[in-house]
Symmetry: C2
DNA sequence: GCCTGTGAACGGCTTCACAGCG
DNA sequence: CGCTGTGAAGCCGTTCACAGGC
């Protein structure tokens, strides 16, 4: 995956072009917790994403009645190695028992706390086409905690039509409706040309987190967090691997032909 | 986001536990191109994903009639810094002109070549629910080059029904149909419990690249490439940022209260 | 003079390996 | 003795800064 992250906006880094705010505000204000005082906020983004995966695996284990897991078991189920898993868990605290493992219920609780899943996050979906429909019908979104509370589109024929039990609103009402329903996450599922404008509207409406399905690089202020899901990119990355595989196969055929008599390098089934 | 990648299976690295193949195969076969001989295969995965983004931006520029771009312009449009862009492009060769920039047409061609987009990649979608419908209707998939040539589901009511102009096939025919239509990419859009079984079937059918939308960690052989798109994870990562923001805001309110008289750290609008 | 291409420095994530504790 | 928790090492991707050409 692939997340869209802006420049790291580290404190003290000179930005390419100073923003208006920086020029016109003579008295700076503390806007980032000083490194010394950061309260374990040092969880790598990659680890955060994995924590979400562990959480899902743990939920499955809890349903199957497991009370305890070792790092080895959990790691296998999550598709990572156990050292990485233990490191990831160590970022959120020490909730395991040496010689035994982790209590499933405890881990679930702690991960949910860290991920902020104890509070509900109201979601708005903008763009009720094929994808928007699918998203709206997900119904409450994965694992609960992300209720879809607003749908928007420009098409007048769609406005008012209920999708997934929720009537579609007109895009011009974004600001008002998002404020009323305290939307904290905006999902953009519009055609590419509309995406930036929709994004701007969401941002002015106070939405600070955006999940973007449109194949467009969104420009947003520093305080807004964007993650993107880009089908074209995913397919093209896979395409790259297909091509690489084909190339390697060609080279390997040749290599194996040449070095047919002696041992070569190392073995691994390639089909 | 976030790609699912197995252990790096580097040549010469002792695996945690030797596989059956390694134990029972006395004569190893070359299955990976030796480091010395690798033909610029050293493109970081992250760079590959960005190349796909550059490609899209470049296509837009070409339509708007631009013949040339500087690294600065292209980088801005793609949302990265220019150093990274130049580094990424350097992985595929030296196609720029010093003092001038890059020719749009040339870059497009070279990136397409590297990404393997000169050949078509036939796509099969499995699981024709909400999401599957949306994917099938994308019609030919982004930017051409990824024609959807097969749809599958278990539901007998769906089999035979045309979706996006293509009749849905039964899941039991995966192997035959994928072979016939030379499917190189399988897309899994099934409910979670079915995902692993579908994946296994795709793999036995010879599909080596999988795009997984099901919230499940797929277990696949080493030679199969899996990328996953995980809505729950994306939302939970955003949730984490919401929570972090809230925490910081609390701490900052306190900090600004305390240090109200003197300058603090550095400025940046936080809303 | 300007912009590309890239070695080198840097930083952050991953892996290792073992101390620490139940 | 087993498994967690973690400093340290290693590795890889990003950023810097400037040499190299046009």
């Amino acid at each position: 995956m692939a997340a869209q992250r802006g420049q790291r906006n580290g404190v003290g880094v000179t930005p390419p072009a100073p923003t208006a705010a920086e020029i016109t505000t003579p008295i700076p204000r503390v806007t980032e917790v000083p490194a010394a005082r950061e309260r374990a906020r040092a969880i790598p983004e990659a680890a955060v994403a994995r924590l979400a995966v562990y959480l899902r695996v743990l939920s499955g284990m809890q349903e199957h009645g497991s009370g305890t897991v070792s790092s080895e078991e959990l790691a296998a189920a999550a598709g990572v190695n156990s050292a990485k898993l233990r490191k990831d868990l160590s970022y959120i605290g020490s909730y395991g028992t040496r010689g035994v493992g982790y209590e499933v219920a405890v881990l679930i609780e702690e991960i949910e706390r860290i991920l902020g899943l104890t509070r509900k996050h109201s979601v708005a979906v903008v763009g009720i086409g094929n994808l928007g429909h699918a998203l709206a019908n997900y119904g409450g979104f994965p694992g609960r905690g992300f209720p879809v509370t607003a749908l928007f589109d420009v098409d007048p024929d769609l406005v008012g039509v209920p999708v997934g039990g929720l009537p579609v609103g007109h895009i011009d009402d974004i600001a008002r409706v998002c404020a009323e329903r305290e939307v904290s996450i905006g999902v953009i599922a519009t055609p590419p040309p509309a995406a930036q404008a929709v994004c701007d509207r969401l941002v002015s409406a106070g939405v600070q987190c955006i999940l973007n399905f449109a194949p467009v690089v969104l420009q947003v202020p520093d305080h807004v967090e964007v993650r993107k899901v880009d089908l074209a990119v995913e397919l093209q990355v896979l395409s790259f691997h297909v091509a690489r595989r084909a190339d390697n196969a060609a080279v390997l055929a040749e290599a194996n032909g040449r070095a047919a008599n002696g041992r070569a390098v190392d073995g691994m089934v390639v089909s």
